[in-house]
Symmetry: C2
Subunit: 178 residues, 2 copies
DNA sequence: CTTGACCTTCCAACGATGGCAAGGTTTAGC
DNA sequence: GCTAAACCTTGCCATCGTTGGAAGGTCAAG
């Protein structure tokens, strides 16, 4: 690519067109400042969740405090378990000064319902499992109500129905998988 | 492929090498009998969770009641939220007559902990979200504590309680292996 | 000039599943 | 026997959010 004329240091004070001082950041610094990994910043850009970053002559992406603001918003919404589609809507509401709070509340309420449904599913599983565990002697003998429950031999199956366990919320599945 | 010599019907009685009668099933019938989709049966075979099915001359996979047994076990373990790795272990314990129930109990206990941790996370999110929702007037005006909570404007927060989900624990780029 | 930290793009993978396509096989009806 | 339907086969793509790596360009410091 083209060579950058000015060998300006990153994260240094810049003067923009309006003469206002801004801190310019490369993607790594933006990542550290926002809590969103550089990988994900590029991903969000590629999927249109955030606008395309301006580029330095070198091709490096360039971020301002405003961008960091947005990234932090996204990060918090994701931490709250919103899907990218929901975040897309939240972002556009956030940036629209004429938004009716009604729409935000509705979005959040829908998400809360999803969360509560998921919680109920997990609790049902956990309750059953803890009962099975409680009834397992857990010593060296091979008989075990947990295995019995999963096998055909047992008439009192607790997990008979193949009810789906969708993991729609990455902030949650993150913790234990991998 | 080679033409099948005997045009035997599926799901019909077959005579195996030892002259023992068995009910033979194609993958579709096995799927219906076990509750595991044909797709997933092939997937489990490909990933080594179940052994490679025997094949008819036609190339069709062939399943016995024993295989259905195993598939049902897997289905129930999955319904209980066990990961494939955990199911792999459960399966080998199930098929080992000298298993100590202790190991099964330990596996189940670990999974229960994971479940409870997930439930706690989701509940923390749901609690915060429902508080935010409760404080949102939800009418046509634009001000909204939900959006405020996701933004940097800390001073304008609707209520200043220890609303965790903030930058504190995004937990998004921590990969806790198991 | 070299080194190393940083950036770029592209490509692959995860887990569990669905879907589709192109082709082979079996079965039922005529 | 012929045909159509219902089945099976493999293989590849897509999901969703995220991480990893490879191959290569850029930049600041020694």
């Amino acid at each position: 690519m083209l060579r950058c004329i000015a060998g300006e240091a990153a994260a240094v004070m810049r003067i923009d067109a309006r003469g206002i001082e801004e801190t310019g950041m490369n993607i790594g610094q933006a990542a550290r400042a926002s809590g969103v990994s550089a990988k994900m910043i590029r991903y969000y850009e590629a999927t249109g969740l955030i606008p395309k970053a301006t580029r330095a002559y070198s091709g490096y992406r360039h971020y301002t405090e405003h961008d960091i603001h947005i990234l932090r918003f996204i990060n918090r919404a994701r931490a709250a378990g919103f899907s990218t589609l929901q975040i897309r809507k939240l972002l556009s509401l956030w940036q629209n000064r004429q938004r009716p709070a009604r729409e935000v509340k509705q979005l959040a309420t829908e998400h809360l319902s999803e969360l509560q449904e998921k919680i109920s599913e997990l609790e049902a599983i956990a309750d059953t499992l803890s009962q099975l565990i409680a009834h397992c002697h857990g010593d060296e003998r091979p008989d075990c109500p947990i295995l019995d429950n999963f096998s055909d031999a047992d008439a009192t199956q607790a997990f008979a129905e193949p009810r789906r366990m969708r993991r729609a919320h990455p902030s949650v599945h993150r913790t234990s998988s991998k």
